[in-house]
């Protein structure tokens, strides 16, 4: 294979003693060719990122030395001395990271940081370097390259930072580019642009790209070949079509089945009275200053929403669109400046003190990050029982309810006496749901509640929500940036942008015939939407993920 640029042969990365398994990456072999995009896909902990770091020689020090071979241009990178390897990796193999803002040094101008690559590996003059950097900025489609050259990272958006990182990576026209979840932290429209950019660059430079992701949509969008990893091992590898449409392995199939589709939810009958009527909600953030003035941002700008009993209202939009602020206003974790909130017909916006605390029972929230949403020093049983206790239930009854809920959420009753850190992310999110449901709310707000979860776990949690809703009949305000998820579980969807709801409707009509340009843009940006798969036939709940295995 003359086109082969980089090949990984039997790579193993040992884990420190006491970890749940001996190797983070075990016996991995794969290769990437000239002009090829190889996607490595897998859930968290599958070892995909460590594979990239091992290739670059950037493994954290607490891990042991990797074994096997990483062959690049005939040399085994693993056996090279540090300086030679550094020279090759900087010049010929480049890497971009998941969090572009954190990957840029905050105290240097971005132009400087890109120039550094040239200064290390070439003997170009300052002026030449500058010209090259600005050309690169132009190539990665950064606006005002001259100005950006002199900007600091914090002055750029996440997408711009990622473009700067890509510019850095492309500076010396590398043979191989390793991209570790480069779009995960970005908005869907930005992601689409970056993916497009990468495809263009591949076409122009013939770079071999190893693209690490957990998102099958992204895979469908850009991959030539796909490698699926699980627990440090390669499950299967093949062309995009092979893997996405004709997977051989069970694991791959289960994963694919769990990926939500853009198929709209069937319309439901029998939704009850409104549990939430929010009218004219306004929230302005002012950068506080001693002399008044300051900059004001209308985070929520005159928004109305209504949710009926048993209904799921989806709120979609990009980061900064105000959807979380709206949710926090509704639940009064943030005080709206104006607007009426009626919950089950009762005023909620005007309450304060004890009355507010009592009324809080009716609205509960489940957050995005299950790792920070539970008090780390409280046993989960107590966490779940706390709400009922606050609202006057005696301890014993509260405890009983907590145990029932644990069970209902698919957890063992004995887990009540364990602490949050003993649970996986998906389990924790179930506990959060149990805690919220313990006070028997009328309305549940799910604020990106499944965004941080692996796809298989995501499917389970979504199913749990749907099941519980069916049983208890509460309304859900479901906030997400993922249109697939939204379309799958929402009865109605509102699209938010710059604090306003620009369009609303049921999933079928909204996604079938969007009226607003913005909605169209959002839809267009959904990665891999052309990819049709047959996962909808499978029940999401049948997927057993790594987390759930004892």
């Amino acid at each position: 294979m003359s086109n082969e640029r980089l090949s990984i042969e039997h790579l193993s990365v040992p884990l420190p003693r006491g970890a749940d398994r001996a190797f983070a990456v075990e016996g991995l072999s794969l290769s990437v060719s000239k002009g090829e995009i190889l996607c490595i896909v897998g859930e968290s902990g599958s070892g995909k990122s460590l594979t990239a770091l091992a290739t670059m020689g950037l493994l954290p020090r607490n891990l042991g030395r990797p074994t096997g071979k990483v062959v690049f241009e005939g040399k085994d990178l693993l056996t090279l001395d540090e300086a030679t390897r550094r020279d090759i990796t900087g010049r010929r193999i480049a890497m971009i990271f998941q969090e572009p803002t954190a990957a840029l040094n905050p105290i240097f101008r971005v132009g400087e940081q890109v120039s550094e690559t040239f200064r290390i590996h070439t003997s170009l003059s300052q002026a030449e370097i500058r010209k090259k950097v600005i050309d690169l900025f132009r190539e990665v489609q950064l606006p005002n390259p001259e100005q950006i050259f002199h900007s600091y990272p914090h002055q750029l958006s996440g997408g711009q930072c990622q473009r700067v990182m890509i510019a850095t990576a492309l500076a010396l026209d590398p043979s191989v580019l390793i991209a570790d979840e480069p779009t995960t932290a970005l908005d869907v429209t930005t992601q689409a642009q970056i993916l497009k950019l990468m495809l263009e660059l591949r076409a122009r430079h013939d770079t071999g790209i190893i693209f690490i992701t957990h998102d099958f949509g992204v895979v469908a969008e850009i991959a030539d070949r796909v490698a699926v990893m699980q627990m440090g091992r390669l499950v299967e590898i093949g062309t995009r079509d092979d893997i996405l449409n004709h997977p051989k392995e069970d694991y791959t199939r289960r994963l694919l089945a769990a990926v939500p589709t853009l198929t709209p939810r069937k319309e439901r009958e029998g939704l009850g009275n409104p549990v939430l009527i929010a009218k004219n909600i306004v929230k302005t953030f002012t950068r506080s200053g001693l002399f008044g003035g300051g900059r004001t941002v209308k985070a929520v700008d005159d928004v109305d929403i209504t949710i009926r009993r048993g209904e799921t209202l989806g709120l979609v939009g990009e980061s900064g669109s105000g959807k979380s602020t709206l949710a926090q206003c509704v639940i009064r974790l943030v005080q709206p400046e104006s607007g009426d909130i009626l919950i089950s017909g009762g005023d909620f916006a005007g309450l304060s003190g004890k009355a507010l605390r009592e009324a809080r029972r009716k609205v509960q929230i489940v957050f995005q990050d299950p790792y920070t949403a539970l008090d780390p020093r409280q046993k989960v049983g107590d966490s779940i029982a706390e709400g009922p206790v606050i609202h006057g239930l005696d301890r014993k009854a509260a405890r009983a309810r907590a145990l029932d809920l644990l069970e209902a959420c698919g957890l063992d009753r004995t887990s009540a006496d364990r602490f949050p850190h003993e649970f996986s992310g998906g389990q924790r999110q179930r506990i959060c749901i149990a805690r919220a449901l313990a006070v028997e709310p009328e309305l549940l707000i799910a604020d990106e509640s499944v965004s941080a979860l692996d796809v298989s776990v995501q499917a389970q949690v979504l199913k749990l929500l749907a099941d519980m809703q069916a049983r208890l009949g509460f309304g859900i305000l479901f906030i997400t940036h993922d249109l697939r998820v939204a379309s799958q579980i929402c009865d109605n969807i509102a699209v938010m942008r710059n604090g306003r709801i620009v369009e609303r409707g049921d999933p079928a009509s909204l996604f079938g015939a969007p009226k607003e340009t913005y909605t169209k843009e959002l839809l267009a940006a959904v990665p891999g939407k052309g990819w049709q798969h047959h996962a909808s036939e499978n029940e999401a709940g049948t997927v057993r993920s790594r987390e759930e295995t004892p």
């Binding site: 929230i365 920070t372 008090d375 919220a436």
Partner: protein, 279 residues
């Protein structure tokens, strides 16, 4: 969990022994801390020639048993440091909690107070107040208690702010919990470890501050004694009767060292997010 390092074991052992000695100290010697024996002045410790077997660590300039002195000094130094630390930690943390809860002008005002405190070297304040109001045990304890409050206030404000912005705190508010439940039951246990690390830093600093004040004659006054006072008293004798100051010096050193080791260990065990702030 990782294997416990022998250094940590040593440190914890030192602290445990110190506390035990301070509590049951009097069984180690038959002499009282102020009992003098003018015929056995400046006796060297047992392992030197010319020593007196009933004074294993030697005697001071008026023939008092160094074992009894050091134990009494330890008791006083520990009491002062504990009282001072508790007062400072409680007061400072309370200020930090209040500032973090109310935000706005309350926070501005309190943080200005913190700045004010931080703008003056503490020993300067101590000396000044002792000069204006005269030395008394009550004032002394209050002063030691004020020591470091601004550090606790800054620290607790910071960690409380970040704690109450954590989803778990929001979720608890959303459950309808009042402030008391939120701060005492949820926030406090979660910021406690950061505060405990700060305690391991201020505790030895109070001992050292008291030592400096004793050197200047403004520390614990005779007939009471403290490690710092014994150390200060013995300084003229360093070249002839080193044991008077070396024993208390050694105890101060060991306690400080052990506290630092334990503090470092605690910090390493903490959330890395807290690590930066507590240093």
């Amino acid at each position: 969990m990782k294997r416990v390092s022998p250094v940590l074991v040593f440190a914890i052992a030192v602290l445990a022994i110190t506390v035990v000695v301070a509590i049951i100290g009097n069984v180690f010697t038959s002499h009282g801390m102020s009992q003098q024996n003018l015929l056995a002045r400046l006796k060297p410790p047992a392992f030197m020639t010319g020593s007196n077997p009933s004074f294993p660590l030697g005697t001071d300039r008026i023939g008092r048993d160094m074992v009894a002195r050091v134990i009494a000094g330890l008791q006083m130094s520990l009491s002062v440091a504990i009282a001072g630390t508790i007062i400072g930690a409680v007061f400072g943390s309370a200020i930090g909690f209040v500032a973090a809860h109310f935000r706005g002008w309350v926070e501005e005002l309190l943080m200005m107070l913190v700045d004010f405190q931080a703008s003056l070297p503490f020993i300067l304040i101590t000396l000044t107040l002792l000069a204006f109001f005269g030395n008394s045990m009550v004032l002394f304890i209050i002063l030691m208690g004020l020591f470091g409050w601004e550090k606790y206030a800054r620290l607790s404000r910071g960690v409380v702010l970040s704690a109450i912005n954590q989803p778990y705190a929001k979720a608890i508010v959303a459950l309808g919990a009042g402030n008391g439940r939120l701060y005492l039951k949820h926030v406090l246990p979660n910021v406690a470890s950061a505060l405990i690390v700060q305690v391991t830093l201020t505790f030895p600093q109070i001992i050292l501050l008291e030592t400096s004040l004793s050197f200047l004659g403004l520390g614990i006054q005779a007939p009471q004694t403290s490690l710092g006072q014994i150390l200060g008293d013995g300084r003229d004798y360093l070249s002839t009767a080193w044991w008077i100051s070396v024993w208390p010096g050694l105890v101060i050193f060991l306690v400080t060292l052990s506290m630092s080791i334990v503090g470092d260990w605690l910090r390493d065990r903490l959330d890395p997010m807290l690590r930066a702030r507590t240093t």
